[in-house]
Symmetry: C2
Subunit: 228 residues, 2 copies
DNA sequence: TAGATTGTTAATCGATTAACAATC
DNA sequence: TAGATTGTTAATCGATTAACAATC
């Protein structure tokens, strides 16, 4: 597997390729061509081949791609085969939702411990993950060096929590707080999940569609016709 | 406010502009130039001006942008000033998290009702929003025509729920299920929030950084030096 | 007026698409 | 062998950046 420098656009497409190929794999499909993938995902076949070619030669002329091999290679590219450990900070509803329903292992992460400051949840176990009090966090970081932390604390506490994590040597933060956290150490990978940004995009498209259908002006035979 | 056709890249930057300008507005800032915005958001000043210019002329030569006016215009572009109604399907942990902590009104949405099939939550009220049984959903869609639905049901139920929503005349779906829902009516706006895609992107960057720092090869004085 | 900063046009850069030789 | 399909190169398209006239 090669590693050319690729754009964020390519990186954003990789998980979509993976999901698609994983489905084919699960349905025992053995081979697939770039044009079949294109039909399924919606990106052009040329783009798919171009994207893959940044990381190596995974196919075979006249045959296409072996699904098992391609799946493995994309897992490698995305790092899903590495065994990362992670912790979760903030066991409110969102934190609980992720612990209970999200399959971290499918993405190459093993959840080792969760933290909260509420005595009512500290000591409980959620889907096999123990919830500790926050006072244990620094010690845990120091002893166990988890690779990644899921940040699901309230917005106001995001920065303080991030500071502790970075100080404790974390490598990556998956930030659900909606706050833009400032990181002193630029080697820390931060991935933001912003519900507000997502909903505003939805709002944009909804509004646009509405404007289009509410005042549909047609140009026909040289005249502007406004639908009744 | 004008409406040229713009790329998804531009649309994705709009919420970031809005958040930044909203902060300035909240801190009583009166005017701002594209270069100040550039420093704050990280996009180039030229790009910011270019982006805004798709929607109108919001600034003034020699002065910059009036923060209040610019904020209003971006709200208009994003549709945050329209009063949309929405419902939520699936009051598990994720649904509850959104109901309790997410400010729908900041994004121009008013949450009118939530639905669940679990008798234990049906009849309760979460942050002022009543939870009804799913059997009421079709009637409610028919009578109240909510604009948008938040989909926080289990993955397996995503498609069935989406079908009911589309059938009931919904205009937009904010899909948190991780399932790719198929929509017959192409006028329905769908915005997917995929935790898995987000975490896989994080995994990609984490892996890349690790490979870079684990085997750092320096080129110095014509020699390749491998760090001890 | 002089300085600042916009909106827009032209230049550059990068990403996507088309085409095709290589080859299974 | 003939047909299919890759990986890659070149062509096209689109997005970002640079430059600057307009003007507050």
């Amino acid at each position: 597997m090669r590693r050319e420098k690729v754009s964020e656009n390519v990186i954003a497409r990789l998980p979509q390729y993976y999901r698609c190929i994983n489905e084919l794999y699960d349905s025992n499909c053995v081979r697939v061509s770039s044009s079949t993938l294109s039909d399924r995902i919606g990106f052009s076949a040329a783009q798919i081949r171009q994207d893959f070619s940044h990381f190596g030669e995974f196919g075979q002329q006249g045959y296409g791609y072996n699904v098992r091999k391609l799946r493995y290679e994309i897992r490698e590219i995305l790092g899903l085969n590495s065994h990362n450990t992670c912790i979760l900070l903030g066991c409110g509803n969102l934190g609980k939702a992720l612990l209970q329903n999200f399959n971290f292992e499918d993405c190459g992460f093993f959840m080792v411990e969760a933290f909260d400051k509420d005595p009512a949840v500290v000591g409980t176990t959620i889907r096999g993950v123990e919830v500790s009090g926050v006072e244990r966090l620094e010690l845990m970081l120091d002893q166990d060096h988890p690779d990644m932390a899921v940040l699901t604390v309230p917005r106001e506490e995001a920065q303080r929590a991030a500071d502790i994590l970075v100080e404790g040597g974390i490598s990556a933060i998956w930030n659900f707080t909606g706050a833009e956290i400032q990181i002193s150490n630029s080697d820390v990978v931060v991935e933001n999940v912003s519900f507000a940004d997502s909903l505003m995009k939805l709002s944009y498209h909804l509004n646009l569609k509405r404007e289009e259908t509410d005042e549909p002006v047609f140009l026909a035979g040289g005249r502007h016709l406004v639908k009744p």
